[in-house]
Symmetry: C2
Subunit: 386 residues, 2 copies
């Protein structure tokens, strides 16, 4: 029997039935009051989530399209930007900036390290700099960088701060305005558990000022075209939107706010802690710095003699559960468990139970049930050592 | 009771239940054989539809994103391009080219006119030119330009030809290779009747050569990044795709090929003819040149004393049927009926019947049933004067 596979990768995340129903329902025509209300509701909900008084725009694209919109709308060719690179998505942000002919000063970290605000301050001070591009949650390692501290540096230096919040928004605390973030980018298929295809971009007043000066070419991702259409008496899109995905996203946001931001964040903290204690109890090593903040993704070192990719492939083949392999230099060395989005405690227990079985099958000495038991303790206590 | 509105606009078009079910079904994870097979099937089906031996890439974006990909991948700043403008989407293609700092030579027509291949030849001959950007079906007027004749001009002159086939592909005959088209762009929500959010781009060998030389910045729409991922043993996307929309598109293509290309095109010809005869029988005037080829959209002049926008608004309010208003200089002067996609004869009759009622309500002298009768005759005969 064909069964749907179980997503425990850091995106796409498990999609609630309400979202599937909404995106399988008749289209709301994109010119008219129905879509206007839909767009207004979605952007209002997203503004609350980003914690911003500024604008939020929604693009039909992957998160990468949202990141590109930040580069194309903020900068001009030759502008110097500082880009900390501590994982795959740091490399991507740097790659986009290079494609737009910016003067890219990377700060290169070993993958798994946290970006240090002091390093950013130093790199910014070297030469006239226009902006800093950084991940909040670096999905490839699970590490959540201290964007608040980096925001203090960029405000002090008077440079723009663009943050890749794709796998952090909604999963870990985020404060666009309070932290001085000028552009924050996220996507539909992460903590919100809608399906992929929509990117959201939060834009500060300083970012709008920069946009007006920036000469990089852009059209599909041109913020002004969206803003003009959003500001019509009946809001609409400049280009035909992915209406079905917007309907699904609206349903996902309704579910999110049924619990409320605080409760959902607390759930992410708790489930993350349960995963991490379960992994430790199995005798595996966690990977990456700042684990107490890594509520979205847990990276685990593959044990000696076991290839991480093979482990991921076997868990998928034997149990229909999709974990994520290591990327780049971590290929084969780590595997990743995604726990951002619409998960409940039993999803975590199921995943650990499957992992125990596969590890045992691959010859790793596992005390059966020990990972599950450790996670149960965390979940029962509702609190944990992190 | 809330009823879904009935789409008779040129996109989005009516979505079959099979498509809604597919995009409301569990996600196929985008790394693995399931998605690989889905992507391969969709691109193969699209290659048959474009009639090309070249590559077809699928972007998560509106059709405009696909058009931007043509500009960003083919050209460098300062390149001269010829852009015939005979409607709203001609203006859009020119606007994208200007955003990328190309040297844009428009050929300006009164809206509703056909682009003449001789005019293109003349404009190309004026100065060294890199490419021609033109609509096949100009959605804002319904006019289908003779891209085959334009293709003879561009091949003769050795310049690139990029075609906006967004509302033509699948609705009217299209021959990417035989007509010498280098880039053709279409979208999911038109003749295929999937939902909006996916753009497809067909790319010739000459276009790939130009891509390698072109220096315009691009990342999300960079053809090479997609091609590399498609060419993996298990095809995938460089960035997380709109998986649900791909599942819906695959279902839409299955339905399309149940009938086959020839039969679907013949249906479009017939329904278009039924609409046009029905409109004539009501005493209204059709708008635009080359009506015998305008199988996707019919533009109609609003009768004296009746504003086209008001007519569209009343048909929507009174009958729940969404027609499209005139755009730009045609605002208020024409209205448009979309008949591309998943329509059957009774959809056309229903639309004409509703239009008759609203025209009568607005004081236009209508012989009740006359438009419907004329359309019935066309449909019964299965052939028509065009």
């Amino acid at each position: 029997m064909d069964r749907p596979e179980i997503l425990m990768a850091p995106g796409p995340t498990p999609v609630p039935p309400e979202v599937f129903l909404a995106q399988g329902s008749p289209l709301v025509y994109h010119r008219g009051p129905g879509y206007g209300a839909l767009l207004r509701g979605v952007t209002e909900d997203l503004r609350r989530l980003f914690r911003t008084e500024g604008d939020v725009l929604v693009f039909t694209s992957s998160g990468t399209g949202g990141l590109e919109s930040a580069v194309a709308n903020l900068f001009s060719p030759g502008d110097r930007v500082v880009v900390p690179v501590a994982g795959y998505f740091g490399e991507r942000f740097a790659g986009i900036a290079r494609a737009y002919r910016l003067d890219v000063r990377t700060i290169d970290y070993e993958w798994g390290r946290e970006v240090r605000a002091e390093d950013v301050a130093e790199a910014v001070a070297e030469a006239p700099t226009k902006g800093v591009l950084v991940q909040h949650s670096e999905t490839s390692t699970g590490v959540v960088h201290d964007v608040e501290a980096i925001g203090r540096v960029t405000r002090e230096a008077g440079v723009l701060l663009a943050v890749d919040a794709v796998s952090s928004l909604g999963a870990v605390p985020f404060e666009a305005d309070a932290w001085g973030i000028d552009v924050a980018v996220s996507g539909s298929q992460k903590a919100l558990s809608a399906t992929p295809g929509l990117a959201f971009v939060a834009i500060s007043e300083r970012a709008w000022d920069a946009h007006r000066e920036a000469t990089s070419p852009r059209f599909y991702f041109d913020w002004s075209l969206y803003k003009e259409s959003y500001d019509l008496p009946n809001p609409e899109n400049p280009f035909t939107p992915a209406i079905s995905l917007m309907q699904g996203l609206a349903a996902a946001l309704r579910l999110y706010y049924q619990d409320g931001v605080e409760a959902v964040l607390e759930r992410h903290r708790l489930l993350s802690s349960a995963v991490k204690e379960g992994i430790r109890a199995l005798g595996l090593d966690l990977f990456g710095e700042g684990l107490e903040r890594a509520w979205a993704v847990t990276s685990v070192r593959a044990p000696d003699g076991i290839d991480g990719n093979q482990l991921v492939a076997r868990v998928r083949a034997d149990h229909g559960i999709i974990l994520a392999p290591g990327q780049g230099p971590l290929k084969g060395k780590v595997f990743r468990i995604g726990h951002l989005g619409y998960y409940q405690p039993t999803d975590i227990l199921r995943c650990l139970a499957a992992l125990e079985m596969t590890l045992a099958d691959m010859g790793f000495p596992v005390k059966r049930g020990s990972g599950v038991a450790a996670a149960q303790e965390v979940l029962s206590a509702g609190a944990s050592p992190g």
